[in-house]
Amino acid sequence: MSVEAGLIRALTGIVGRAGVVATLEGRLTYECDMHTFYKGIPDVVVLPESAEQAAAVVRLCRGAHVPIVPRGSGTGLIGGAMAPQGGVMVSMTRMNRILEVDIANRCATVEPGLINLWLSNATRERGYFFAPDPSSQMVSSIGGNVSTNAGGPHCLKYGITVNHILGLQMVTGAGEVVWVGGKAQDRPGYDLTGVMVGAEGTFGLVTAVMVRLLHLPEDVKTLLASFSTIEDASETVSAIIADGIVPAALEMLDEVMIRAIEEGIHAGYPKGASAVLLIELDGPRAEIEAQAVRIEKICRDHLALELRVAQNDAERALLWKGRKEAAGVIGRITPSWLLQDAVVPRSKLPQVMREMLAISARHRLVFANVFHAGDGNLHPIICYDDRVPGELDRAKQANEELLHACLQLGGSVTGEHGVGLDKAKNLPYQFADADLNFMARLRRVFDPDGIMNPGKLLPDHPACGEGFRPVAPTLPGGTWV
């Protein structure tokens, strides 16, 4: 489906000349998100400045049967904000205002293009913050976070994006503008907010978001523990969780990653250790003091080499800068990479890490690890050089083997990055035909014509197609049917 000149004129009529990108040079820069492996150039990009404009764009495209691909800051890791079938990309970056901060009701309403961290920056002085903190939070948009139901290091304690969304406004694929949820909680009716979060743009365009704000904790304590083996670090993570402690964050970094971070950011991670745990506790001072004592003991029992507590805000901020920009320093260690986001039950962490070492050795590939160990959410970065023949294939094979290992242990395909184009094909590993079919039908409720972000989230699979019927349960024999 290509976009005709007439459609571009009509789009210009909606968003103005400055809101349309139609040149090849301009469009080219929108052909991928952070997963640059997947490319698809949109036929045109529009930048609406209001929900009304966004709705007009959707209605126009629906009438013309043209696909729509929503895009926030383009930091996704799943090939979500790219246009495999061309069509109209809708960039929400110009809708980035904070519409309301309501401290009495501990919430804020923002436009989708607002950068995640800017919201906390705006409310911190008043003692509040927006809890979801994907590592990209200094650039990713709240609309993008909502669409991918983003996680982050601190979602171990605070939960992922959906737990912090009170309501949202969406222009559905059917062209409706609907506000769901709001300040009054537990409204009767289906939890549309809950199911719209994480829809990855396949239901519609998110045009406003009402988020929960949390009070800043009384105190924060950040510990760094280093280990001589990845196994020791993994056992430590499992032991902390099994002890019933829920740290605010519990992250693991391996030697390869530490080296890259120290080269690029000089965050103060101990070079030479095989694995480091970054453990953050927050809450009432007396509570975290007691937890820290228990955690330190667990670390020592698991042969921690070094235990260090960040002495001040600057030191803590630097440790987190190193952690959060880890994805960005990859460029220092490898020309190309694949990033896995699978999850395993937390108790299976030592087992899966052993499996990972074996896979990496088998395929002669370097894996760099930086991940949310407390959640069992792995992020191995599989390094390869696209200029070396065969390396990409080996990397893909290793990636696939690791994914299967995780699923075999009872895990999940993606913990927080989302599905997008990248992982759609993997959904049948985790879901039966009936489950996929349910999702496909749910999608049709919001997007009857299939124009919203086609090709993403669900696989090209018979169960997702029209006319599919799951195998009917057997009925007792008889004459009535």
Binding site: V21, T23, L24, E25, G26, L28, T29, Y30, C32, D33, M34, T36, V45, L47, S73, G74, T75, S91, T93, R94, N96, G113, I115, S136, M138, V139, S140, G264, I265, E325, A326, A327, G328, V329, I330, G331, R332, P335, W337
Partner: protein, 410 residues
């Protein structure tokens, strides 16, 4: 272009990019510009006028370099690509190459600037400027209006003179400092040069400001006119060939270019030269300066070529904090470009004015009465932007505040 491959497309640079902040468009962001440069280098697209336009709109502030975890050398990639575009004569109709050429033919030539000054002095002194501004006579002429609005108070004939040699005056002798007087600085802000020499002398330096020094070529470098730049750089290196321990710049844009001579000229003398270059704040930060009370509230804007180009952030702030009575309040997003960017504000007045307005808004929020910035272009730009907002603040070089507070031994 190995540097292009280091970009992992993470986007951490986006919020640090002034043009992305205004436009919200990928191709006018560092990540997008790198993507275009890489696409051109890989032969996926041609170097077109449209591509050139997106690069022209870049201020070259290098805020993205500071943000980049992967260490992409954006500044030199941009300059190299601009060089390619320049060599092939690719022009975007929307970019004001005429003004750029005019300015590049004016600023770097001391004799031409010197010839222009009396006329400007007359324009301001005669009351003509007030008339022109009051009646909005330049309203129809966008470029001229922009330049006129940026024009600082042209110094009088009798303003402070900088001797070629200033002897050390106090403290323990610290050696010989060569002072770069700059082009804009020497004609529009000669006081800053004189104050710089005074402070260096008070700190124990013998200061030499070679008469024969010309332009550093920074503006040409940033515009991709690499041949002109190299010629100017060689000449400047030659003019500082004498025995100096440190070469001091007080204009961030110049200092940043001087520090990169080694990279661009690829010769040992230039490399040795670059090694000696320091911003004035780096030189003074640990010097003994007798400073007296100066009870003012000051905020500090990072000049891009100091903060991003030279990674100098702490020193100017530390110096200002040393002045007794001076209250330094932080400026929000102080490292976001004010829109000056060399001659950018003259060739891209629209974008520059918007960035200036945003900077002035943030300045207003601080409540400070003085803004310090270590680069003459930034001072002019913020001065105009604050005036446009009706904000009554003084924009000065940090050196000027130090000089005001300096209590020299009799």
């Amino acid at each position: 272009m190995e540097g292009l491959r280091a970009c992992v497309h993470c986007g951490i640079c986006l919020p640090q990019c002034p043009t992305y902040r205004v436009l919200g468009e990928e191709m006018d962001s560092p990540r997008g510009r790198i993507y275009l440069m890489r696409a051109a280098a890989d032969g996926r697209i041609a170097l077109t006028p449209t591509l050139a336009r997106h690069l022209d709109l870049c201020l070259g502030c290098r805020g993205c370099e500071t943000a980049c975890p992967s260490g992409v050398p954006f500044g030199s990639l941009l300059e190299a690509t601009r060089g390619q575009i320049e060599r092939r004569g690719i022009r975007s109709p929307e970019s004001d190459q005429g003004t750029l050429s005019l300015l590049l033919a004016l600023f770097p030539y001391p004799d031409r600037m010197a010839a222009l000054l009396p006329a400007l002095r007359l324009y301001q002194g005669s009351g003509l400027q007030a008339l022109v501004r009051g009646l909005g006579l330049l309203a129809p002429f966008r470029r001229l209006r922009t330049m006129e609005a940026l024009l600082p108070r042209v110094p009088g004939v009798g303003s402070a003179r900088l001797e070629e040699l200033t002897p050390a005056r106090g403290g323990k002798p610290r050696g010989r400092a060569g002072l770069l007087v700059g082009c804009v600085q020497r004609f529009f802000y000669p006081d800053v040069n004189a104050q710089t020499a005074r402070l260096l002398a008070a700190a124990g330096y013998e200061v030499v400001a070679p008469r024969e020094q010309g332009c550093c070529g920074a503006l040409h470098l940033h515009s991709g006119r690499l041949d002109d730049f190299r010629a100017m750089a060689k000449q400047l290196v030659a003019s500082f060939r004498g025995d100096v321990d440190v070469i001091v710049a007080n204009a961030a844009g110049c200092g940043s270019a001087l520090k990169e001579y080694g990279h661009w000229l690829q010769d040992p003398e230039a490399e040795a030269f670059s090694q000696k270059v320091k911003d004035i704040s780096e030189v003074l930060v640990d010097a003994d300066l007798p400073l007296g009370e100066l009870p003012v509230t000051v905020t500090y804007q990072d000049a891009c070529h100091l903060a991003h180009g030279q990674k100098v952030r702490a020193e100017p702030r530390a110096l200002l904090r040393r002045i007794p009575g001076l209250k330094l309040v932080e400026l929000a997003e102080s490292d976001l470009c004010c829109g000056s960017a060399g001659v950018y504000n003259l060739v891209e007045p629209g974008m520059a004015a918007e960035l200036g307005r945003r900077t002035a808004e943030r300045i207003r929020e601080t409540g400070a009465s003085i803004v310090a910035a270590g680069n003459p272009g930034c001072i002019m730009q913020m001065d105009r932007a604050c005036r446009a907002l009706g904000l009554n603040v003084e924009i000065v070089h940090p050196v000027s505040l130090l000089a005001r507070a300096l209590r020299e031994a009799p």
